[in-house]
Symmetry: D3
Subunit: 239 residues, 6 copies
């Protein structure tokens, strides 16, 4: 039996908190905590679109991701000093963008872009799942602002989107891994989910291959996590 920090059950999320309107300025932001993983998510509206969408009348949603050098136990090099974003960073910010776009109607958004910055202040595993869950809130608050300003007539957001990690540690399926669990997991997965469907699955067995039955077990956990996270989002966006 795996013993978790703070006596957490195998199918329990860490303590999740989403504080909306973290910034006094800007277009929509929140501070999201998954236990000791803390992320600031802040959205910015830009009244232009990427070149491939020019003159099409549709919008775009994208994301950038970063970690403070001291947010982890071991200091990591500052990407601005190394002169480029790592492969891992690039992969995560592409994932966040893709996840958000799957619940936005780009025709309703119109010819503008929303960029969501996800900056990790403290990292204890699950930075990408906390980022996606918080980024949705920042995006939603931004669309509320656009609605209130009458820049758009209806909300382009079609569903909620949350993300949660699951893994197999010492043969036990666990929900929402922290760093100490993640670093010894046999199998590791991220589920990006909307209200009743799946948006993306990333499931990886770098230590050993896995079976379809393990996939099914983790899906059960993910559904449970999804329902709770969407509940937290609803409170944060006042919905």
């Amino acid at each position: 039996m795996v013993k978790r920090f703070l006596s957490r059950g195998y199918d329990e999320l860490r303590q999740v908190e989403i504080i909306p309107h973290y910034y006094p300025h800007g277009d929509g932001s929140c501070f999201v905590k998954f236990g000791r993983t803390h992320v600031i998510c802040a959205a910015t509206i830009e009244e232009r679109v990427p070149p491939f969408l020019r003159n099409l009348g549709t919008g775009w949603v994208t994301a950038e991701y970063g970690m403070l050098p001291c947010s982890c136990n071991e200091r990591t090099d500052r990407e601005a000093v190394r002169g480029k974003q790592s492969g891992r960073t690039s992969e995560i910010q592409r994932l966040i963008g893709r996840s958000l776009r799957s619940v936005v109607d780009m025709n309703v958004l119109g010819s503008r872009q929303i960029k969501v910055d996800c900056d990790v202040i403290l990292a204890d595993g699950g930075t990408r799942t906390a980022s996606i869950t918080g980024a949705f809130v920042a995006l939603h608050l931004t669309c509320q602002k656009l609605l209130k300003n009458k820049t758009i007539a209806m909300s382009p957001i079609t569903k909620h989107v949350v993300a949660v990690s699951c893994g197999v540690v010492n043969g036990t399926p666990l929900l929402d891994l922290d760093y100490s669990e993640d670093s010894v997991a046999d199998v590791d997965s991220n589920f990006i989910m909307s209200d009743d469907m799946i948006i993306e699955i990333q499931m990886c067995g770098e230590k050993r291959p896995f079976t379809e039955s393990e996939l099914d077990q983790l899906l059960v956990l993910a559904r449970k996590g999804r329902d709770e996270l969407i509940g937290k989002q609803k409170v944060a966006i006042g919905g």
Copy 2:
């Protein structure tokens, strides 16, 4: 009903060919074709390991990926001219490396690194799945050489690894999408698989979320593709 190029059935791979020993020199290479997707995979042995493995006695396997600028219908910018690899490139080469490492016993490999270059000559969808499938062959031929030279006493390779894409196009699940299918797919996935288990799943519904039942349907197709691809690998490595 979806009509496929060359009257291919919904659960059929494109014509797959793996030509071993493509290069007269080097440590192990092949030319792999998935229909009109052509990739050169070539492995190189380096008698040193990355810094984080120094003095541990274990080895490493990694990969680099590139596309010729004219390999696609639309010319893409040369990454060497732009001065960096794109996020997509970085994501794919990380995936190839992770997939290969999952079937290598690093203690048996010993304190050396094998780097596999996957260069796409012609691209028609599925460049990452062809790359992984071919990279395994290049890696295997390289280990055969190490064995023959008596550099290592037994093979570090524990299983086969192949990759195949599946997707849902107009409501129909399809195996091994070509570019024309991939660009209109509702749901898109890559399955990295070993002989009887799964190594990694990437399944994404950027156009629309998907259901667990769709996941199950694609898994059936992926298993069929896996068996055929492992058959092709066995012939190429003379096993």
Copy 3:
């Protein structure tokens, strides 16, 4: 007469708060607030020195500075994406390092480096003065840890160091400018000070040249700010 936010007097600091041990991990950190300017300062010990100090037995202190893209009213580009640090960033982190080094006895520190990261979470003017004031606390806590571990026999820190900005706005000298004041100031200055002396003065009249009498007036304000900031530091470091 200039009217300041929250009825602040011309010679009053904003509300300053220094929360020590912000990070549960790491070598010494704090969260510093100068009104709505918030900075995380975190120090890391590295058991090596820059090349020019090799084999000399003396140590080094350096700093890195960054701003979250959304910390300002207007989003700024992420330096990791642009691929380099701006001239402004480079100037500020050099200043922070220089300021800290002026109060450290490098022979006592021994052959190791302390790097202090200053990351701005929220920016409302004075990010460099808050950074220096907080960086000193992070550095001090780090030296306490080295002492406690008996890595060093006595503290290498010889004095306190704080920084404060002063400026002339509409003819009135003001202490500790916020962004709304800074952006319209005729004359702008930063004073880096230790307990009873000056470490560095940067005083600039980009809008118009200034007189020696103005310099003297700002010095008076700076001394007042210095005394209060050192008081805050003493509380934070438990001294």
Copy 4:
């Protein structure tokens, strides 16, 4: 007497093959072999010109060059990973562009650019001469397409252009050096030639200076190689 691979005579080219229309897509391409040196040449039409030609009504021809990391006996670093093209790469692609431009009437081409990518798949000496010889074929096929589409009224190509290397090895002048010869040559040269004239000479004696008489001997060989290569080009372009 120097003994050459496959009993080649001192004034014989390696086996040269030019396969036109290598790519099913694109604007004009070929696969060129000089013995075991293999290059893919592919041209792309861009309906814009570099800034210095804007609004002049004339066109431009340029080239990019690359080598697959495993194309040589010793793997070379991938330029996209190193983040820049080497001096050698830059020099070769400038040479290819210059050579092609010398046989194109830019007024006839009109306000568009043709970019020719030369990617070395297998390298055994003479990659720049094979690239130029193949790039001309890709360029010619592209102009044929423009003519067929009636985008231009007459061909902008005024002559053929080929390139061939010559060198002095152990005192013997040789035509079309392979890598084993090139690496021990006293004197090394590349001749870029059109039907009956010279476009560019690069002749270098890094091991030892050379005489005018040696220059003359190499010119005789170069003329012989030129005639044969133009013959191959004529077949490939169906002329």
Copy 5:
């Protein structure tokens, strides 16, 4: 008592020479010598402004700074080879630009930019003060040219600007430090001054903190240097 090179007094400048019109071409240039510190300053008019000034009708003045690799006693790396400008370079060129802008009326200059290149040919301390002093001359000659061409109706230059360093060496305040003095100074400062006022002060005690009385002593020296340098500028610009 400090003994200075060539028996210079503690309050004497090195031999200063400003040769106007150094370049036969270009918009305004000079060669400036502060003893063995030699700098070429050359201004270029650009009929466009930075993005943040577009459509405002006002101009801009900026500067770039560089050192020849062999201009110092110890060769320094070429910044073009390292691929970026150092923090020190960036800091100096920002200072030069700021200094020049403080004496230019941007409305009078109109919608154009003047860029002043300061390239150090020989470096013996004080390269930034020589650069600013010479850059003003290049800028002034350029404005004369604009006036002569009737591009502008009156000169945008409102005052002179010069720069001079002062420092405390072994307890003695000195004017205009050369490298041998600068490298052992306890306190180091740069004063950017106009005819009767101050534009910028940078005063730094990296070796030890300093007192307000030291600041006052250096100010006296700076005023003396200022008067002499403005005299030299007047001769050079024929004013």
Copy 6:
């Protein structure tokens, strides 16, 4: 008949001046003028060799080249700002290095590297030929210093090396083109020559192909230029 600046004859060099020991410090330097083309050449001894020569006991000679942004009629971008050296710069510095190496016995030089910086102060055509001619002098003075210090027992320099450009302008062959001639030349060439032999020929007809007879005519001019330039070098090195 072509009319040249200052009534120069078709086979006359511009006024050439080589001032040795330009720098008071360093290992060997000169200031070289070919008319209004001015270059500072300065050599630096490094007591280490590039990786590929490690432990072989032989030395290396290399070069770096740069132009001041304002050295040309039109300001060129500063390479340190653009973040990389241009293809042209890279080509020229490779040529300078290659030329110098052809007259140095690397075994005699021993396990050290000499790097020669060539920085163009004023550019009026022929910067690479002036650079090579001056770089040789800087190199020679450096070797004299090594001899004098008894670091080496005999000079590693085996011959002189100079460079001169020739071209065909309006049908007339000319020696040592200035910028106004170079920019309209039909055929352009650079000859790198030692006392009685040739080291490298670069001859290019970008405007039109050329004949062997033109090559012969330019060779005659080049020989004449060579003899005069070697004479100037002999004076400068006191030989």
